[in-house]
C-alpha cells in the first residue's frame, strides 16, 4: 500500500490546469501553493503494481515540467 509525496513543478502558466488534472486522477491528492509555481502531490495506491501504472500515467502529463519524490511509505493493507 504505497503512499508517496512529490513536489511537482508545472510547465510555465500551467499550474491551475495541472492541479485540476491531477485532482481528477484516481489515487491522487493535490495541494497547490498559493504564491509559488509548485504543487504537492500525495499518491496512495493499493499495490506496487498500481503504483507503477500511476507513475506511467503521470509521466504522460505534458504540463509537468519536473516531479521530485520527497517521501515514500509502504504500509500494510489492514492499517
Amino acid at each position: 500500500m504505497p503512499i508517496k509525496s512529490y513536489l511537482v513543478h508545472p510547465s510555465e502558466g500551467k499550474k491551475d490546469q495541472l492541479a485540476q488534472k491531477l485532482s481528477n486522477m484516481e489515487h491522487c491528492e493535490v495541494l497547490p501553493a498559493e504564491n509559488e509555481e509548485v504543487l504537492i502531490l500525495v499518491t496512495e495506491t493499493n499495490s506496487k503494481q498500481e503504483e507503477e501504472i500511476l507513475k506511467e500515467n503521470l509521466e504522460q502529463i505534458s504540463d509537468i515540467k519536473l516531479m521530485a519524490m520527497v517521501s515514500g511509505f509502504d504500509t500494510p493493507k489492514n492499517t
Partner: protein
Amino acid sequence: MYQSVHTNRRDFIKKMAMLSAMTAAASMFPGIIFAKEQEKGIPAGANLDWKKAPCRFCGVGCGVLIGTENGKAIAVKGDPKSPVNKGLCCVKGYHSIMAMYGKDRLTKPLVKKNGRYVQTSMKEALDLVASKMQETIKDHGKDAVSIYGSGQWTIPDGYVASKLFKGCIGTNNVEANARLCMATAVTGFLTSFGLDEPMGCYEDIDHADTFVLWGNNMAEMHPVLFSRLLDQRLKRGVKIIDFATRTTRTSMAADKSIIFNPQTDLAVANAICYEIINNGWMNKAFVEEHCNFSKGLTNMGYGLEDNYKFTDKPESISFEDYKAFLEDYTPEKVSKLTGVSVKDIKYLAAHFGNPNKKVMSFWCMGMNQHSRGTWVNNLVYNIHLLTGKISSPGNSPFSLTGQPSACGTVREVGTLTHKLPHGVVMNKEHREFAAKIWDVPVENIPSKPTYHTVEMFRALDRGDIRFMWIQVTNPMVTMPKLKRYRDGAKKEGRFIVVSDIYPTPTTDIADVILPSAMWVEREGMYGNSERRTQYFEQMVEPPGEAMSDTMQLIEVAKRMGYEKQFYYKDETHIEEIYTEYRRHHDNKKHNMAPLEVLKSQSGAMWPYVDGKETKWRFNAKYDPACSNGKDFHFYGKKDGKAIIWQRPYEPAAEEPDTEFPYWLGTGRVVEHWHTGSMTRRIPVLHQAMPHAYVELHPDDAKRMQIRTGDNVKLTTRRGEITLPASVNERGVPAPMQVFVPFFDENMLINDITLDSFCPISKEPDYKKCAVKVEKA
C-alpha cells in the same frame, strides 16, 4: 474484542508525507503558503486576529499562529516566520486549540468534603491551600511540604514555584516531571561539559551529512523535525541511520535500521569508540587540546530501595588507560552481547570516523529513560569528542525534549531539588546570589537537596511528606510502579492539591482541585530543545474561575506572608517576573534575550549577547563566552576541557528470566501527547487512537496464536494488565519483546513497570523490565 487500533493510520501517514513535501517546498521557496492545508477548518468569512505562540505540545517548539474571533481561538496554522518549523505543524499542532475546549474542562475549584467534591470559590480554595500548607509546616516541618511541577510549566510558573518553596518557605522539595524524561540529558551534559543543554541548534540539520538516531522514534515523536531530515535527504542525499530496539516508522523511513538488544547501546557506543581509535580516525589534535579522560564508580545499583543514595567519584585516567579499557569492546565481542552484527558496528563507526562527513546524533527517551542513562549520554559525547565532531555547524550531539518548556523551565529556571535558577543549592555562592535577587535571607535556602521525583513519591507514601501541590502534570499515569505511589498518595494524613485543566487520574487523588488557565489563556514563555525562549501573549479569557499557575502560586505566597517577595502587579506580573529571572542569568554564558525581543520575533536562543543569539556554544567563532584564545573552549569545566568518560556496559535492573521471559518497553504514539489528557479530548485524535495496545513480534504472536485485537495478559512482579494485541501494525518489536504506549488512563501500563532509575540522574528506566505474556 477491540477493533484494530490503527483504523486511521494511513491518514496519518498521508499527513506525514504531505508535511515532508511542505517542508521541502518551504526550504526551496521561503515564505511559501499552502493556504488550503494551513487554513483548513477556518469558517468562511471569518475575521480572524492572528497572533504568534510556540506550540503547546512537544519540545521542538514549533511556531504557530492562532486565529481568534469573538474571544475564542478558532484556527491554528504554522508560522512561516518561525525558523523552527518554517510554517509547518504536526497533526497535534494543527489541532492544538481544540484542547482548550473539551466538554469537561475544569472551571471551578473543587474541595473534597466527606469523600465528595464540592464547588467553591477560587478565593476560598486558595485560602485553604495556604492554611493547609502552614498547618503542615507547623506540625511536621517545612520539609513535609512539596511541589511537583512540569516541563509544561511556563518559565514564570516554575520561577515563582522555586522562589516560594526554596527561597521563602525554605525547603528544596521542588521537583518536576522532567525528572522522568530529561534529567539524564542534564547529568550527561554536566558530567561531560559542566553545563547543561545542547551546544548546537536545529540549523545543524541543514549542514549534517549523517544523522544517527539513538533509540529515537523521531517520525512519531518529533515529526516536524524529522521532516526536515527527510527534506535534507531529498536535497543533499544525507543518510539517516535508525539505531533502536524496535522497528518503527522511523526505521521504515531511514536509510538503515539497526536493532540492538535492550541496554546494550552502552556496549555498541564503546565499540564505536574502539573502532575510531584503532582505525586512526581519532582527531588527535582536538582531543589533546580540548579533552580530559575520566572514570567513575561502577556497579552503582538501580535505586530500587527507599532512601537509596549514590555519589559518583570521578578519577582522572590517561588515554592509554582508556584505550586498554576499550579492548573489552571490540566489534566481535560486542556483537555477541548486543545482537548487532560486526558489519553494522563498523558501518556506524565509519560514519563517525569519516573526516569528510558531518554527523548529528539525536536521542530522546531511549537513552534518557535508561538505568545507565548518564553513562550512555557520556558515551555518545565520547564519540563526538574523539572525532572532534561537536560545536560546529552539522557536527552536533543533540538531546531532544518532549515537553514545551522542559529546557526553559525545569532546566533553566532549575525546578529540581538540587537546582537554583543559577547554579545549585549545594554551592554557597549560588545560594547567596539567588537569595539576593529573591530578597530573602540566604539561610532560608537549604544547602542539601531533598527528594528527587521517585523518592518524593516514596516520601509521600512513607509520610515524610504530608502536603504535595501538583501542577500541570499527571503523575498518577506516569509514575513507574504506579500502584505503590497511588496508594501512598491516598493514605490518611496526606493533603494533595492538583492544578490542571481537565479531570485526570491525578485529580482523583486530590483534596483540592484548582482549575488552571491553559497556554494562550494567559501570558508566558516556553524554552525549547535548542535553547530558544519563546513568548506568547494572552489571546483569550480562561473559562470560569480558571487561573494561571503563576497567579495561583503568587496568591498562595501572599496569603502565607510573602507579599514583599511577591510584589508583582496583576497587569504586569509576567514582565516583572521575567525581568527578575533574567538577572539570574546575566552573563555571557547564559544571558536571556529581553522581553521586547521575544515579543518581536519567533523567540531567541540563549546565550543572547550584544543583541545576538548564540547558535553554537563552546566554538570561539560563534560563542562570545569563549575566552581561552583557542578555537574551542568548554568553559563549563574549570580547565576549559570536556571529559571523555570510561563507562562500561552493565545490565538492566531486571532482565527476562524463565518466569518473566519477555522485555517490556513503554513509550508514546504520534496522535497523543504524553498521558493524553489533552489530545484524548480532541475527537479526531482520539478516534484515530482510542486506546492502548500491546505490540508483539509476529513470530511470538503466531506461537501463542494471538492476532491483532485479541486480548493479551501481561504480568510482571508488580501486577498484571490486559490489553488488545497489535501484530505487524505500527511498530514491530524484536522477538521476545513487547511494547505498550502509556497514554491511556484506562489501561495503566505503569501499574506494572519498575521504578529502577539511573543512579546519577535519578531518571526511571521505562524501557526495560521483565514480563510474562499470555493470551487472555
